[in-house]
Homo-oligomer: 230 residues x 2
DNA sequence: TAGATTGTTAATCGATTAACAATC
DNA sequence: TAGATTGTTAATCGATTAACAATC
């Protein structure tokens, strides 16, 4: 009975937050970080919204999903809200990752300093190409992909970055999953198939680029309409 | 009067397609491309949906925004639909782009062969760092950023890729816009300010990574609940 | 024809906006 | 207190799902 109650309590705590809300959190995080650096102490939902292209109400509703962070007549304390959001996004502790595929994208990820500032450590880097093995990218040495399973057993890695060509991606993903990885950051243009308890976050550069051309075209058509209207 | 009618007709043609729909088009495009390569002739909305994680109805409604491509009792002709989607996304002709910022991301973009296959040509590459100037990345030579305006005047470039650090991004963006660029593919973690007729498509790697950690955490909490429930 | 699958309308669900009382 | 700004509820808008007739 007590057990049942306890369970209920835990479940209550966990509202189901929608994807749309989650995807806005990193933007708040970034802007709050900027404010923090500029030594600004408080911020209103109005400003937080305006700078990110959201309405003030949306901001307040978003934040209220996670707690009561604001203060009437004053706004939000920047440092406090920033800390809360870091906690929500779970970036108060380091996250360790391996990169599979030492091509340009893999290298870009491993060298990108912002990630380090956010608490991500890209510890191991693997590739099939024997010519790459042994090379150093920044501080890490590229290892042969055959050592990946062993490496995963000997190190506490949480995230696997898949930056291999499309045709090898599912195979690599399977190796990562078979060796305990529960989170995959996928740059390959494939929909990876994974067990239910594994999370995949896709970065689809092609999709982004094709969206851009769509809007380029449609914005030119808008101009035609405007011209036609004169 | 005739003018007014003409204008009306053009405007009628252009339904306002929602962003959610547009963002799904590249997925259809990719899957249709795969089918085309496998020499498969027809595909149902059911399959097209299942492979991308959408419902069949959603697929049909999405496609019907752009025309009457399907065929009752048969599905969609793969090649035909593929061609239509290419046209909608406006990738039947080449698009030429410059890359500003020859760091890892800039290099990754310029070397990524998929883009070439989609009809994108990254023609010029620019950097502030004198040590980079003159180096060749694949087939293109890194030029000094001071030559960017001149280059844009002498070449028909449609897209500017911004892959410089956050603090220089707005400045670069201004140069691109001042020299006629109407479409910007932005990798810097800043919200660029541009005139109304310029389109910005952001790729925010940090946001993607933070979303991943959010879901890692929340999926672990789910497990706790399951455990608690036993 | 029977079976498959589309296109489309109506019903539901979720997200955004509007309104405003509560609070500092 | 007056002014500012939050948190929250109700109203609106948009997107998804359900249902089904039309068509090949």
């Amino acid at each position: 009975m007590a057990e049942k109650q306890r369970r209920r309590r835990i479940m209550m705590k966990k509202k189901n937050i929608s994807m749309t809300v989650i995807r806005r959190l990193p933007k708040y995080h970034r802007y709050l970080h900027d404010l923090l650096i500029s030594d600004i102490r408080s911020v209103s939902s109005e400003e937080l919204g305006r700078k990110n292209g959201f309405t003030a109400v949306k901001v307040r509703q978003d934040l209220n999903n996670f707690g009561d962070f604001g203060c009437s007549g004053y706004g939000y304390n920047v440092r406090e809200l920033y800390n809360h959001i870091c906690e929500i996004l779970d970036i108060n502790e380091m996250h360790e990752a391996v990169i599979v595929g030492a091509g340009n994208i893999g290298q870009a990820i491993s060298n990108y300093s912002s990630f380090k500032e956010l608490g991500f450590m890209f510890k191991g880097m693997f590739d099939v190409n024997p010519k790459m093995v042994g090379l150093r990218i920044g501080e890490i040495e590229i290892q042969d992909i055959d050592f990946l399973p062993e490496y995963l057993h000997n190190n506490e890695i949480q995230i696997g970055v898949v930056s291999v060509p499309a045709k090898s991606a599912q195979g690599i993903c399977d190796v990562l999953v078979a060796n305990g990885i529960k989170a995959i950051w996928n740059f390959a243009p494939v929909d990876l198939v994974v067990p239910e308890d594994v999370i995949v976050e896709n970065v689809s550069l092609s999709s982004s680029l094709l969206t851009l051309t769509y809007f380029m075209k449609s914005s030119m058509e808008d101009e035609k309409i405007i011209e036609g209207a004169v």
